[in-house]
Amino acid sequence: MQPVIELKSLSVTLGNHQVLRDITGSFTGRTIGLLGPNGAGKSTLISTLLGFWPITSGSASILGHDVARESKHIRSLVGYMPENDSFISKMTAVAFIRMMAELSGLPPQQALERAHEALFYVGLGEARYRQLGTYSLGMKQLAKLAQAIVHGPKLIILDEPTNGLDPPARQRMIRLVREMRDTGEMHIVLCSHLLRDVEETCEEVVILKQGRVVHYSNLENERRLNKRFVELELRGDVNGFVSAVEGLGCESAPGALNRLKLVLGDKIEVSDIYRVAAEKNVQLRRMNFRRDTLEEIFLKAMEHTNGSL
């Protein structure tokens, strides 16, 4: 599968400060979350991928196109929703989105049609003839999303899309991101410091710290793997139960107070555990699947690198 983003020893220095340090990675997911504390280099990475900052050493490519040599072509394939306010206050939303579509190369008539569609899609259909300067913060975020998708990009980069949104507006934005992901027509890079946003929308997570990738995680795999980890609290013949489940192909690690951790084998289902427990006359007092939340993954990633959390 062609990587969406491929980084090879990528370093970027701005002034005398090395912001990105020797980043290597290949990301193929439909939705990629970019996480990291403030100053980790998330926005610099995005700016570099868009060709705003020059690469000091190494290389980067988007959808197989080299960022340094084909930045103009890349920008025609990418939609970008910046974090900060970006609009022209005296223009109506539909005129602004149309202009952005035309700048992306759409002929005027198609640009107008797509501008209306994009505004309806994000939920600004009724307000599309209003000047952008009169929009609320939530509406401005939606208008920024509309300009990012109006030209039908192959990759959309969302920089803190839920910044400053109230809970209903945030939910709406997350729903839109999920819907776009599920159409299968585009890849999404979501950069956020809100772990929940990333958890709710992304398949892959890249965690940056001090300009380095400190963790990469495929959330889908993690979720699948988590379902293979079971924590049990038992009453009765624990040793007999352990022998029986190990005989089925599970790995076990006994804990204190009759607690037991199991890694289920490939063909073992939870129903098999119930069956063995019944056969051995063991009470199952508690059974939990392990649930590593993104927060736990994030905190671990922060601790693992020089522990300066």
Binding site: P82, S89, L103, H116
Partner: protein, 286 residues
Amino acid sequence: MAVYKRTYRGYSGGYTPDWSRFLVLFRYSRRNLFKSKFLTAFFVLCFFFPLLCILGVYANDHLSAFGFSGLRDGPFFKINGNFFLIFLSAQSSLAFILTAFIGPGLVSPDLANGALTLYLCRPLSRIEYVLGKLSVLAIVLSWVTWIPGLAVFVVEASLAGWTWTLNNLWIATGIVLGSWIWILSISLLALALSAWVKWRIAAGALLLAVLFLGAGFAQAVNHTLQTTQGYLIDVSKLINIVWQDLFHDSGDRAMPVGEAWFGLLAFAAICLYLLMKKIRANEVVR
């Protein structure tokens, strides 16, 4: 797809050529330009003098038709380089006022609202952005300077015949070249100021200040240091010297034409440098 379906879909239609993208900026900026009634009225007023000149040229060649044959033998005035130098000086003053109105509003709103990121994250380079904004001024000012200038020339050429036309083709070159020197110099200055001063009124005032205070400083430097090199900071003087040369004017030059050209090129380079410093998708926060 009908808008009411509200589902996302990709785009599979055609694209405009790469080279034409900067014209999008021109179209949208122009559309906003003439929303101002005052500006539209002033723009129309800019054609008054050229119209008067065309009538004058026509009347000059048809004195007898107006019953003035007894007054004098030849025409009232000569249509030569000097005539067009005066014409261009008058029209360039009007062009300058237009620039002071239009120029400051071209780049500053984009900077004030952080819109540059959105322009430059598309297949549009910084140079194309500047070209797009510059084309707004260039095209509006063209309608006030070299286009009416050539119209007057063509009227005179049609009345005076081929011999006059062939002998005076250098005047047409002077009109076009002289106008473009003025247009580019003043447009670059306006864009550079618009990029650095986000408040439109202040940017407009600064444009006037650069031109008039520049002239004042130039005089002060010349008097203090007993030199003519002070004119290097007086853009209007530099342009005037180049125009004098283009229109074969026999009057005194304040400085050699080569130095004036050098001064203008340096001025344009400084404006471009200032402009490109500001036209960036992201600002580096140090």
